[in-house]
Point group: C2
Chain length 199, copies 2
């Protein structure tokens, strides 16, 4: 390899290059809310809607993160923080590739969400508070976690034995009670459309 | 949200969906080789070439990984293993999004590369041995690391005070001595083109 091994033009393609290629803007949509509030369900619906409109997305959720890169982490306070830190760093890599990245994690404290926002960057962080009341989340109890938590079998369960600190000024807030995931996703789609549209 | 909160059709878009959308196949191209061998330089050239042909790529290298998600890791044997494990998990997420993912890391041992291959999956792991001889790498010494290592200022420096285990049967092998990065990238492009072409 000749002397010009590191000429100035030999740089990685930039985010702007990727966005031009994809004809869309990268964005992190960060869903926060109680277990069973509907975060993942809305993310899945939103992804389907975005794909239909030609946008490239990536969902990050417990299934592909806790069983993959974060399989080494437990549930201590330190591990929960590290969990969110890594997720935010991964979001950043996807957003930097021009991708609409949907992250669905309880992320119960302001500190955790500020950590994520700080890593991703405020301008790329669209915070969605899925504000379904705990009574409704517990009534659904899709994974049977609330029953377990009530029996004391899960320590520090958000909403039961650990607090959920509501975001003060999220980019969006929605209570899913009595609404379909489709309707919630449509509302969100209209909100983010101006941000992710390439022009 | 009504009872149909988790109907069967409400699933994340699959890799096949993303690949159809992007009209390309996901693949991890894993560059292994000594410091200064030309891994990143070839990756940058390959990305430029792929972008020109309409393929979406993501480069993962020391700059965006060691300063980001792996900023907490040192250089102990355990930390080096964890470094590669996380990189491979991130590759997997990108490949699963249909993206041609270029990872440029020394990854000096067979064990480390097998770890990466195991996580990413053999069929998605295209191993490129950038086999530039150490004399040439040391002559270039772009970052001044060889000089430091020779002075004993960097412990366990691959090629000087720690071994590089050559891959036995890489998908591709290239010595960059006397060749341009462009020529190496072109060779690689022709090799991966059949794999990443959507049909």
């Amino acid at each position: 390899m000749e002397k010009n091994i590191h000429p100035i033009f030999e740089r990685m393609q930039s985010r702007a290059d990727k966005e031009r290629q994809l004809r869309q803007r990268g964005l992190a949509v960060w869903f926060t809310g109680l277990s069973g509030s509907g975060k993942s369900t809305i993310a899945v619906e939103l992804e389907r809607k975005l794909a239909k409109e030609g946008y490239l997305c990536r969902i990050l959720d417990g299934d592909n993160i806790r069983h993959g890169i974060n399989a080494d982490l437990g549930f201590s306070e330190e591990a929960r923080r590290e969990n969110i830190r890594r997720i935010a760093e991964i979001c950043k890599l996807f957003v930097d590739t021009g991708i609409v990245t949907l992250a669905a994690f309880v992320s119960p404290t302001r500190e955790l969400r500020e950590l994520a926002r700080g890593i991703i960057g405020g301008g790329d962080f669209f915070e969605v508070h899925v504000a379904t009341p705990i009574e409704e989340c517990e009534r659904r109890d899709v994974k049977g976690l609330y029953a377990k938590a009530r029996r004391g079998e899960i320590p520090d369960f958000t909403g039961i034995s650990a607090p959920f600190e509501e975001p003060e000024s999220p980019s969006s807030r929605m209570d899913t009670t009595g609404r379909t995931a489709e309707a919630c996703a449509e509302e969100l789609f209209q909100q983010i459309k101006p941000i992710i549209t390439y022009q």
